[in-house]
Symmetry: C3
Subunit: 259 residues, 3 copies
Amino acid sequence: MKKTIALLTDFGTEDGYVGAMKGKILSMAPDTDIIDISHDITPFDTRQAAYCLMNCYSYFPEDTIFVIVIDPGVGSSRKGLVLQTANHYFIGPDNGVFSFIYGKEAVNAFEIDLSAIPWKVSSTFHGRDVFSPLAALLAKEIRIDKYIAPTEKHKTFIKPIMKVEKNVYRIPVVHIDHFGNVILNFQRTDQSELTKKHQFKMIFRNHKFDRICNTFSDVPRGKLLLLWDSSDYLQIAQNTGRAVEQLGITLDDEVELAV
Amino acid sequence: MKKTIALLTDFGTEDGYVGAMKGKILSMAPDTDIIDISHDITPFDTRQAAYCLMNCYSYFPEDTIFVIVIDPGVGSSRKGLVLQTANHYFIGPDNGVFSFIYGKEAVNAFEIDLSAIPWKVSSTFHGRDVFSPLAALLAKEIRIDKYIAPTEKHKTFIKPIMKVEKNVYRIPVVHIDHFGNVILNFQRTDQSELTKKHQFKMIFRNHKFDRICNTFSDVPRGKLLLLWDSSDYLQIAQNTGRAVEQLGITLDDEVELAV
Amino acid sequence: MKKTIALLTDFGTEDGYVGAMKGKILSMAPDTDIIDISHDITPFDTRQAAYCLMNCYSYFPEDTIFVIVIDPGVGSSRKGLVLQTANHYFIGPDNGVFSFIYGKEAVNAFEIDLSAIPWKVSSTFHGRDVFSPLAALLAKEIRIDKYIAPTEKHKTFIKPIMKVEKNVYRIPVVHIDHFGNVILNFQRTDQSELTKKHQFKMIFRNHKFDRICNTFSDVPRGKLLLLWDSSDYLQIAQNTGRAVEQLGITLDDEVELAV
């Protein structure tokens, strides 16, 4: 059965680093289907990569192997990880890129033991020399036990919803997407738990929202609105425009929720 | 026989939206060959997408299924379309992205009936929830009749050549490409019909052209020239430079043709 | 056996030119695995493309066919080339994009004879009309002898290391990558040949280096360092930053080596 290896990096493509990973995978596991998720992650932006992965991984076929290389700490003491979930494998550095996976899946986590790897490994390009070869071995159903060891601790950067007083919460921004939509760490399940009869106010500076629309065109062109995104996170969007600039909001900001 | 599904979107790749579409397609139709045409269409630029599709679709194998998601109106009352031509299928929103297809192919057009679709459909991401699953069903040769109904009307934005007086025409700009070449809505067949012995003047402000070159280097570096583009549309180009900036021309401009 | 065709262009994807090449290849050789190396090479930047190709080609499976279309001279008298090396084929224009290949592989070079090609060839898009079809024929193991003829001369742009006086050399910059790392034309083998006991000074303006680090984090954040890149060329890098801007260096500069 042909396996899928899905790639997510911040390499861009113009230096050939992604090409080297693809070549390596195809040389080791010729029947693999290599799928590009993205190579346009902002360099070193582990948060953007984490959101990107969260937004797509669950749709991939069983046994898909995800290789994530946003890796500013390559060659340092940062751990390399192999995660096994009910349906998928994830391989990449332990720097928060898997933050959403820990929240959504039961994870068996393994640390890669570089000292056990018999082939040549550079200190600057584990995407090519460690993560891709391990992915290729998994794709060929060759056991990689001897290169990994169980681990418990791993990094996550997701800030939780904070209760600041009775009926008032602070909701962190979790991502700003390609279209300038502002995604909040507030899911449909949070709505059921925190709001009574779904009545609430969301406030950012002088912008107030008290209902969740069904689609962009529920408000006039240029107006802001609240909307569930396609992964069921709440987003502030603008009908045919970029909410992020109209709000003047950043990834470090929080939105106030009064229920 | 393995089918090809070719994707064209304005999503960029860094949010995982394209990844979700690819995952969905591979989960439903594992033997499909997914081909990226582009995910770098300028957000909401249906004209750019239409030109991009025109420039490549005819080279793809028989039975290729094209999924086009430049969809600012998603969730509104804009129709979703499935088009069948002699060799291909096209799936996407009815907002003009198929403008060139209507002019070049005999088209059987169908409207997607969302109310007939039994699986969950979000209001913001039909690329993942409607267009990709229908493409996957077509790739597996499963009939989709119950989800679509014949339709006659659909949107096109291509402005025709306008006759303004005897022997004088206005030729709309139809696209500006990656290299700054300015493509006009003027095809080789228009040349045969409109010009006598191929004698003419093309005029934009103080720029005048009276011959069509064979290649960029027929003029000195930095000079403007007329050239048939690789889809047999006439373009104004610059030898190793960007004609669009030298001309100061936009997509809304027209060029005068005197024959 | 399924063949791989790997594509490297400066087309971007948004005009459909890459789509046309992919469609043409799949129509002629349906079982081919098309791999994107990059379509984001800076327009006309043959040096960037050459480095990108050097950085990845050797990892690809035997018999991979590389199609390189950075081709500002298309339609002029520049030659089209087919190169055969021990493991791979390379097809593209003779403008220096294969500079590194000549230095690293034994190459059988052939010139494409356009006059022998029986199908229609445009003067502006040999990527679609010449290079892709020849690649598809090679992928199907159809002989292409009648379309090519042996050739000896071909262009290269790599500037050598220059000895300027006893124990002093000038090392040309050969590439600046996506992360702002500055790659020098100085390989591990040059180090063994030129330096005694690996003692040296590298100097660019007021920046001096006298050791080669193992990884970025061997120096504090923001500091510059020397490092072997993942293809064993020496690079000037910055820990989590862009060395190119801190140095104020360009592709035309040279670094002084005192041994």
